[in-house]
């Protein structure tokens, strides 16, 4: 732990924690952590999954009680620990990643919920509820139909509803846990504007995010945690993404363009004029042996739909797909897998892996025929196959029979990749392979991708983070509104230019 570069803040802090220790069983989740937020400041809390960010927030909001000796100074008073009720009453609000909203209830009910519940008389004053909701939204400069059920609104609007709800309780400080994880760039920009407005009106915002670019854009100071300990507090000015990554992981990464020429290699996948109206139109591309094609673009650009069509799960209306020169028509993803296509879903939690089931079963699910022996599944063969892949891809696991959900995002993703490699694919489609994967583990995933390309696999890498495809693909295709609108060679184009085109 090195000396915190304390940014000069003249005001007395709104919130100041010292000496915070938190132990779960034998594990020290927080080691002597201190943390400070000034009134109206936008402060970023950075660190990898499991570094103690959430635990710290839960200490501040009274969910957890820290070990004796802790000092929590908040708004002029000193506490040894918080209670959830005190925290709420004194204006500490949290917007959790899952938002904790009621999709079936109206926007007004969602916003004014806490104002209505537990009040006497036990009758709901809908008029008051609507007024509270409209007022809270107006503070954010937003108009929504407060009578519509929340589920009618997209995730970005729901986020705003969650913020509005946090603000009705006279919040002095708002914690936002990964607020932009499911937002597009323009929605994110909008959210950042809201955060700036909050800050200007004197509400402090503590921002927890994986996306370092926006962290640097929005916050004035950054507190970095690693393995439950404070690394330091840094002013955002003069900070770079790679420096934060280094501080968070304790490792150095050098990002370089990995693109290589592949023009002499045979074509593995050829797509011509592939169209599915409303989702993607007139898509043509070729992927050669050992080549990695990056596809980027905003959410809703048709990337995933295109991938699903290549994987036989969506039927294109017109156009053709050829693999190694032979035209193919898939009636299901089973045909696609047989033809050598593998698709790693962007939604690892509900589509990519069968979360409650074991690591071993998740790894062999797509290649069961390989562990058959005399018509029956062989436990020995399964164990052998799993051990081999676990070793090959450097997955860190306890036992093969443990549920896959016990692994970290990065290790889960390695298992998901192994599951597809076990099918002996010719073409591997990776749809946002770093979603929910720690910064430190992302590099590991891309190292695997690079190695796979060297073995001759044709790879399609889809990501909404332009740098990911820029540094890791041989060619970058930009998709917007279902069409390929640009093609870039990372060796001849600057990252900034590609980003400008995509985020325009």
């Amino acid at each position: 732990m090195h000396q915190a570069t304390s940014a000069t803040v003249s005001e007395k802090p709104l919130l100041s924690l010292r000496n915070i220790n938190m132990t779960f069983g034998g594990v020290k989740a927080l080691k002597n952590v201190s943390f400070e937020v000034s009134p109206g400041e936008v402060h970023c809390l950075a660190g990898e999954n499991g570094c103690g960010k959430s635990t710290l927030i839960k200490v501040i909001t009274g969910v957890y009680r820290p070990a004796d000796g802790a000092v929590i100074e908040y708004d002029g008073e000193t506490y040894s620990h918080m209670s959830p009720v005190t925290a709420q009453d004194r204006g500490i609000q949290v917007i959790w990643q899952d938002l904790a909203l009621f999709p079936e209830m109206s926007v007004a009910e969602n916003i004014a919920f806490s104002e209505i519940v537990g009040r006497r008389p036990r009758l709901v004053d809908y008029g008051r509820m609507r007024r509270i909701a409209i007022e809270a939204l107006a503070r954010l400069g937003i108009t929504l139909d407060v009578d519509l059920p929340l589920k009618e609104y997209a995730i970005a609007q729901r986020q705003i509803v969650a913020i509005a709800r946090a603000l009705i309780g006279e919040a002095k400080i708002v914690f936002m846990d990964e607020p932009t994880a499911s937002l597009t760039q323009s929605e994110t920009d909008h959210l950042l504007d809201i955060v700036r407005n909050l800050s200007a009106s004197g509400v402090a915002v503590v921002f927890v995010s994986h996306r370092l670019a926006e962290v640097l854009e929005i916050s004035s100071r950054i507190t970095v945690l690693r393995d439950g300990a404070l690394v330091g507090v840094y002013p955002a000015a003069g900070m770079t993404q790679s420096r934060i990554t280094e501080l968070m992981t304790g490792k150095t990464f050098d990002q370089h363009v990995r693109a290589r020429p592949n023009d002499d290699q045979p074509v593995v996948l050829e797509v011509r004029g592939l169209t599915r109206p409303g989702q993607f139109e007139d898509i043509s591309l070729t992927v050669r042996r050992g080549e990695t094609i990056g596809i980027t673009g905003l959410l809703g650009a048709g990337r995933t739909e295109l991938a699903l069509a290549l994987f036989g799960m969506l039927r294109p209306a017109s156009g053709r797909i050829s693999i190694e020169g032979k035209e193919v028509r898939f009636t299901s993803n089973r045909d696609a897998i047989k033809a050598g296509v593998a698709y790693l879903s962007e939604d690892r939690l509900s589509l990519g892996l069968v979360q409650p089931q074991s690591i071993a079963d998740n790894l062999v699910i797509a290649s069961l025929r390989k562990i058959l022996s005399g018509g029956l599944l062989s436990d020995d063969r399964k164990r052998g196959l799993v051990s081999r892949w676990i070793a090959d891809l450097g997955v860190r696991i306890g036992r093969q029979a443990d549920a896959i959900s016990t692994l970290s995002g990065g290790n889960q993703q390695r298992v998901a990749i192994a599951k597809w490699l076990a099918t002996d694919p010719k073409i591997l489609i990776l749809d946002c392979p770093t979603v929910g994967v720690d910064v430190g583990a992302r590099a590991g995933i891309f190292d695997i991708v690079a190695k796979l390309a060297e073995t001759g696999l044709a790879i399609i890498l889809i990501s909404d983070e332009v740098p990911e495809v820029y540094f890791n693909a041989d060619r970058v295709l930009h998709m917007a509104q279902g069409r390929i609108v640009g093609s870039y060679d990372p060796r001849q184009t600057r990252l900034e230019d590609v980003e400008a085109a995509v985020y325009a």
């Binding site: 069983g25 034998g26 299901s332 589509l351 990519g352 069968v354 069961l368």
Partner: protein
């Protein structure tokens, strides 16, 4: 040594703890309460009562593992029994030969399979809830059965049918042999075949399983078909045991089969559960009712005690999970 222990542990699985403990408890309590409990008579009564409920429970188990349910099991069993009875009656009644009986059994299995195929197809293709689909099938089969039998008993079978219901081979009751063969069949099916593997996966997450290239529709249709076939086997055994067929036979078993699955550690939402613990759970239930019978309790009280036992096991399981969590927290 440790590896052997580990192997035994993984073979039995965590599901075994509940029914295993219940088994030990029941044997201890009744063994102390009644000197006749640990006797051949108890074994005999359990051995003859176990298979009917047991076979129907096996029929219920597969759909539950996929996250579904088959409420039509008892009526499927009896409709299959009726099919056999009809074949026997149309071909000589009491004078029907063994060949006719075998043909009748095959027809019964076919009818059971048909009931399952229809449910499976509807569930797999329309994504309708299995409770609703199997409820419709249950009502349809009950109505059909009542119409065909006018609510009465069908009897008058050849003499050789009886021993299938209450005969013994080498001291082991025939129905028990049939049941144990079916248990072993299900054990291999679930543990060692692709269909079994897919059953668990579908029960945990159907979409993720489909994305992995598994033909989930085919698996669901097969699961319900096999469930129907197992019902038919139960129907044949019931026909032989009662020497008659009635559409309402074993109706009260329906929900007991669901509870027996849960007592055996099967996850009510699908994805987890093994055959052997369910088998032990069934033995416990039968021992309990035989034991209560022995100490002179009312037969209806036995059913009530089943209810108490099941609730007790649920609570114990909850307590055990709490303890386990605190151990894990302390340990790691």
């Amino acid at each position: 040594m440790t590896t052997i222990l580990e192997r035994v542990k993984t073979a039995l699985g965590p599901e075994m703890a509940g029914p295993g403990l219940a088994f030990v408890a029941v044997v201890l309590v009744f063994g102390l309460a009644s000197p006749q409990f640990l006797s051949a008579a108890t074994f005999g009564s359990v051995a003859f009562q176990l298979p009917e409920l047991g076979l129907l429970t096996l029929a219920m188990l597969l759909p539950i593992l996929t996250g579904g349910l088959n409420l039509a099991i008892t009526f499927t069993a009896n409709i299959a029994g009726l099919t056999l009875a009809w074949v026997l009656r149309e071909n000589g009644g009491v004078d029907a030969g063994v060949g006719i009986f075998i043909v009748g059994c095959l027809m019964a299995l076919l009818v059971g399979a048909a009931s399952g195929v229809v449910m499976g197809l509807v569930i797999a293709f329309t994504r309708a809830h299995p409770i609703l689909v199997s409820l419709s099938m249950m009502i349809f089969l009950r109505g059909l059965g009542e119409f065909l039998t006018r609510g009465g008993d069908i009897s008058g079978f050849p003499a050789f049918v009886g021993p299938i219901g209450h005969g013994s081979v080498a001291g082991i009751p025939v129905p028990l042999i049939v049941f144990i063969v079916c248990v072993l069949g299900w054990h291999v099916l679930l543990g060692r075949t692709k269909l079994g593997f897919n059953t668990y996966m579908i029960g945990s997450n159907l979409e993720a399983t489909r994305y992995s290239g598994i033909n989930t529709r085919k698996a669901i249709v097969l699961v319900y078909t096999l469930s129907g076939v197992m019902c038919a086997i139960a129907g044949i055994i019931m026909l032989a045991r009662f020497n008659s067929v009635r559409i309402g036979h074993g109706e009260s078993y329906l929900l007991i089969t669901v509870l027996a699955c849960f007592l055996g550690g099967v996850n009510p939402f699908g994805g987890f559960g093994r055959v052997i613990p369910v088998f032990v759970a069934l033995v416990v239930l039968q021992l309990l009712s035989s034991g209560l019978n022995l100490i002179g309790a009312n037969q209806h009280l036995a059913t009530a005690v089943w209810g108490i036992l099941l609730v007790g096991v649920m609570i114990l399981r909850w307590v055990a999970s709490k303890i386990k969590i605190s151990i894990i927290r302390r340990g790691s």
